[in-house]
């Protein structure tokens, strides 16, 4: 990292690429979309490094990967043929490749699948809080919503997640 505290793009990709991929995978629920999300995020990192002010690098990266994810979700909604089904019962299980990747990482595919069933308005705050380890303040800033809304969405997200995990027999 240079003396001015601004990392190089290569340093961000090498040192924080795993963090970005982990968040991307939890948000998207599959390997292919996670790869695309990381690639696009790193592209935005490259463009944005000139304006980056040293601080919480992972917070900044979280904001970028979240915005890229939400942009992509909005694009998919504008193209209904690629949109995710609204009904949680219609959500397809993770692909075989995703399962393999999950197993390789020691991840319970059932938990990931349950996360993927959450509507994005709840999924994103839960992932940012419990996976990216961001504070409520940061999540509010990233999503541009009041902190009270963040609190409500995290809580409802966890409740929905618990119900889904119960349905899958993961929890009692």
């Amino acid at each position: 990292m240079p003396s001015d505290g601004v990392p190089t793009w290569e340093a961000v990709a090498r040192d924080h690429g795993r963090f970005l991929y982990n968040v991307a995978y939890r948000l998207t629920g599959n390997v292919d979309d996670a790869r695309d999300l990381v690639q696009e995020s790193l592209l935005r990192v490259r463009r944005g490094l000139v304006n980056y002010e040293p601080g919480s690098l992972e917070g900044w990266l979280t904001r970028i990967v979240t915005n890229v994810f939400l942009d992509d979700m909005r694009r998919r909604k504008r193209r209904p043929t690629h949109a995710l089904p609204e009904n949680a019962d219609l959500v397809l299980p993770p692909s075989e490749a995703a399962d393999v990747a999950s197993d390789a990482a020691g991840l319970s595919s059932e938990i990931q699948a349950a996360i993927s069933t959450l509507p994005e308005e709840f999924r994103v705050p839960v992932v940012l809080c419990d996976v990216a380890d961001r504070s409520y303040d940061e999540i509010a800033h990233v999503l541009g919503i009041p902190i009270g809304t963040v609190r409500s969405r995290i809580h409802r997200g966890r409740r929905l997640l618990r119900a889904e995990l119960s349905t899958r027999g993961v929890v009692a």
């Binding site: 996670a34 990747a101 996360i115 618990r162 929890v171």
Partner: protein, 161 residues
Amino acid sequence: MTEHGDVGDDDRFSAWLDGTLDPTTAAEFAAACTSDPRWARAREELVEVRTLVRALEVAEPPPGFLESLVATHEITEDAPTASADPVDIEMARSRRHRRASSGVAALAAAAAVAVAFMVPSLGHVKPALATDIRVHQAGVSSSGDPISGLAPLGTGMKFGR
């Protein structure tokens, strides 16, 4: 504190577990969970799901994925258009192809011009060559050279007959 409905619906529960409530409210929640089984059960349910998600291992990127991204970046940095983004590789490749094509076209045009200049000069050579042959034949007949006289220049020669 919530007195009606499902106590688990109180969104301050998660905030409490995440340590974002003020100390006074947090103390109230702690007391309620100690004295009321409903609060205790709601707390346990949330703790369980929160723990499950937080305990997920880091999802590792596919082998070589990040390295390939960095390598792509370094390649584009080495190129003359150093500011090009990774996604602009195709554009850069297209530009290179256009430059190469235009170079070939320029060479072809130069060759065509050269040929155009050469063709008239060849036409100019023909009469001179014929003149030389006639001069040579005249010289042969006057000098009596037996070899040149057998086969005058410019005539077809057939062997094996």
